[in-house]
């Protein structure tokens, strides 16, 4: 029973997301439209299952919600910061810098999420990852204090992602790094 359900719904989160997406795009709650949404949401994950490189396991919905809110807040704040820095004429010059950060997470999905978060926040761009994923190099638009930036980056993004994708507590390996 459980195995059959697993075969029918290989990625339950993807199923829910697809059904919701369809209903948001075509917001009519007639029987035919809802049936089409459910049908697509069940068939598409089965068809694309061989395309997903590694299985994704996501835990702790509250950590996800908090991370999304934190990233949204950071995007707004650093947008304002970068805009002010561009328009400013006098004062101290900008301090662009490459920063290397040692990483504790290894899950490819977690690393992909970290890369997206880093680059979507204005002012930091994910440049390259070491071959064994042990360190990453970022370019920072205006770097004030490197040690503080690295600590902040690890506690704000890497810690929650380790909890979500790898199920490790934020107080394990992370303490030693800071």
């Amino acid at each position: 029973m459980k195995a059959a359900l697993r075969r029918l719904l290989p990625a339950p989160l993807l199923t829910v997301a697809l059904a919701l997406l369809w209903l948001v795009l075509e917001p009519s709650f007639t029987g035919a439209n809802v049936a089409l949404a459910v049908l697509l949401a069940i068939v598409v994950p089965i068809v694309v299952a061989p395309l997903r490189p590694t299985p994704v396991r996501i835990r702790r919905p509250w950590t996800i919600a908090r991370l999304v809110l934190a990233v949204g807040h950071d995007v707004v704040m650093s947008n304002i910061g970068v805009a002010v820095a561009i328009m400013r004429t006098g004062g101290r010059p900008l301090r662009p810098a490459f920063v290397s950060i040692p990483l504790a997470i290894r899950d490819p999905n977690a690393l992909a999420a970290l890369a997206m978060i880093t680059t979507v926040v204005p002012g930091t761009v994910w440049c390259e990852l070491a071959r064994d994923a042990s360190a990453v190099r970022l370019h920072v638009f205006d770097l004030d204090d490197e040690a503080a930036f690295v600590a902040d980056y690890k506690s704000r993004y890497e810690g929650p992602l380790a909890e979500i994708f790898e199920g490790r507590g934020a107080h394990g390996a992370r303490r030693a790094v800071r």
Partner: protein, 115 residues
């Protein structure tokens, strides 16, 4: 359909759209003013994040007001921009590092792994 939106709603939509335009324009100024490529990599993020959010929010507010039901579909643009913009920027950053190193320019060497 086509109920007239209130003046307050129209003012909010107008302010959001202007904010989006200004952010985008500042991004272009950054693209022109900053001296090196690695610095110029950052300003386009203004257009693809907060400017897109503001424009999508304005679209959602306006079409919800005239259609008298919540029109959430412009949020899809925000999701699309959030997924695609980092891929382009990050690919370009790697390409730039590669090309600057190949030309013997001023770029940090590849990360050496300890293990």
């Amino acid at each position: 359909m086509n109920a007239a939106p209130s003046l307050v709603m129209e003012t909010i939509v107008g302010l959001l759209v202007i904010a989006s335009g200004i952010l985008s324009f500042v991004g272009a100024i950054g693209l022109l003013r900053l001296p090196t490529f690695f610095q110029r990599m950052h300003p386009p993020a203004l257009a693809s994040t907060l400017a897109t959010w503001a424009a999508a929010l304005a679209t959602i507010a306006y079409f919800s007001a005239i259609g008298s039901r919540l029109a959430l579909y412009p949020w899809l643009i925000v999701v699309l921009a959030a997924i695609t913009a980092p891929i382009t920027t990050s690919l370009l950053a790697r390409a730039a590092l590669f090309r600057v190193r190949a030309a013997g320019g001023d770029a940090p060497p590849p990360i050496v792994t300890e293990s």
